[in-house]
């Protein structure tokens, strides 16, 4: 299991990186290497040119600006995990990161790498869906923004053109007083989830749900935002009956299957995890409201 031959490039700037991408056919961008390197070792990926972004320091940043969280594509999961800014402004991201791989993989793995790999159950992709992320993409032809909903075009395939790279991501920061939860079911700690559900709930002064956001991973090639369920929650009391109804709807969403996991089980987990996430988020929202 050794990588096939390639020509190695290690640009120091985004402009050098995109110039390389524009010039070379069958080039791949190397971020943290936690997904691409195994694929290269297995020779599932055999790029002729490997463009290593690890020395492009301008791609590693965490900035909170105007209710947005901006993270560079080469920011390591480790740096997100240990960022006090994120702990303060978006603690849910930390909750989700706790499920991502292991210490060794988070030390190297990057946000951009995870988003471009687009594993259907990846926690960071789920977060991007929940937090209405915008992907900032650059190439020698210029820059463009892609909403997350349009970023994943098929199973583990993104909307990136061969000459483009993901430079950064903007997440919409949630409203101040909201409750949130991230729950997933994986076979072992650190595995990709079979199904994951994240949610944010805000309550009005009567204690009814005034805002609801849900992202479900593991049902499709990319996380889903079940708009009908989100809508139906508005104005409802955050109680068991409400959550059961939402859970029952979540189970109706069609799901993929593979050699290990049936669509029926994924749908069942969507039901169970939606209920659990809503319960937790509601409890958290009440805490936030009173605390």
């Amino acid at each position: 299991m050794k990588p096939a031959p390639f020509t190695y490039h290690d640009p120091r700037s985004v402009s050098d990186a995109v110039a390389l991408l524009a010039t070379h056919d069958n080039a791949r961008v190397l971020a943290g290497g936690q997904s691409l390197m195994p694929m290269m070792n297995f020779r599932y990926a055999m790029p002729d040119h490997l463009i290593d972004l690890n020395k492009v320091s301008e791609l590693a940043y965490i900035r909170v600006e105007n209710n947005t969280l901006n993270i560079g594509a080469m920011t390591r999961q480790r740096d997100i995990e240990f960022s006090a800014d994120i702990g303060q402004h978006c603690p849910l991201l930390h909750a989700a990161l706790a499920h991502v791989g292991h210490r060794q993989t988070r030390n190297r793995g990057t946000l951009g790498g995870s988003l471009c790999h687009q594993d259907p159950s990846a926690e960071m992709v789920n977060m991007a869906a929940l937090l209405d992320a915008t992907m900032h993409v650059v190439s020698q032809r210029g820059a463009r923004d892609i909403p997350l909903a349009d970023f994943a075009v098929a199973y583990m395939t993104t909307a990136l053109e061969p000459d483009e790279l993901l430079a950064g991501v903007t997440f919409a920061l949630p409203a101040k007083k909201h409750g949130h939860a991230f729950v997933e079911f994986a076979r072992r700690h650190g595995d990709f989830a079979i199904v994951a559900c994240s949610t944010m709930l805000a309550l009005d002064s009567h204690g009814n749900i005034s805002n609801a956001t849900i992202a479900l991973s593991g049902l499709s090639h990319a996380p889903l935002r079940p708009a009908a369920i989100e809508q139906a929650l508005l104005g409802q009391k955050p109680d068991a009956a409400t959550f059961k109804a939402a859970a029952a709807e979540a189970e109706k969403i069609s799901a993929i299957s593979d050699a290990y996991v049936s669509s029926a089980y994924r749908q069942h987990l969507a039901r169970v995890l939606t209920c659990r996430a809503l319960e937790q988020a509601a409890a958290h929202a009440k805490e936030m409201q009173h605390g």
Binding site: M1, K2, P3, A4, P5, F6, T7, Y8, D10, G33, Q34, M37, P38, N41, F42, L50, D52, N54, R78, G101, H102, R103, Q104, T105, N107, R108, R188, H189, G190
Partner: protein
């Protein structure tokens, strides 16, 4: 023609300069170029943790890094732990608690725990088990390893106070 680069890395405190093929993984560089065979290859897809080393002081899978990426960096392997010839506290705790059987996963376990205990000097059992969840062992059932980590943590706290 093979794509090569000349790199310089500081491995276990010693500077090494070598001309290598750019596709050479870090673990193969350590094992077969520098002959530091303590770092093991268990899966080459980043799951088993046998190849765990510290790069710039933080743990990494050496099968998922290219040697060329370590140009100018410091790498520490299991061979660095008993630098003065004597087993260090963690190593000794492994022997004391039967934390190894075949010994193959052991270097990765040691490097993972070296980082973990440095950052978490007072861990509980659940935290140790979670910290080890990126390292596979097929012999011990992990019990001896967990005991060793807790024992080492206790002793390291004792000696640094």
């Amino acid at each position: 023609m093979a794509d090569t680069r000349t790199i310089s890395a500081i491995v276990n405190g010693k500077s090494h300069t070598a001309t290598i093929e750019t596709r050479l993984t870090l673990v193969d560089f350590l094992r077969h170029e520098l002959k530091l065979t303590g770092t093991h290859v268990g899966c080459e897809h980043g799951v088993c943790g046998a190849c765990t080393v510290l790069v710039g002081g933080i743990s990494a899978r050496a099968c998922l890094m290219l040697a060329v990426q370590c140009d100018g960096l410091e790498v520490a392997t299991v061979e660095s732990l008993a630098a003065d010839g004597k087993l260090n506290t963690l190593q000794q705790a492994f022997q004391d608690n039967h934390g190894l059987q075949c010994g193959f996963c052991t270097p990765g376990m040691l490097m993972t725990l070296t980082e973990f205990l440095r950052d978490h000097p007072e861990p509980n059992e659940a935290q140790v088990r979670e910290a080890l969840s990126g390292n596979l062992c097929r012999c011990t059932g992990y019990q001896g390893i967990v005991d060793a980590a807790l024992d080492a943590a206790k002793k390291m706290r004792g000696t640094t106070r």
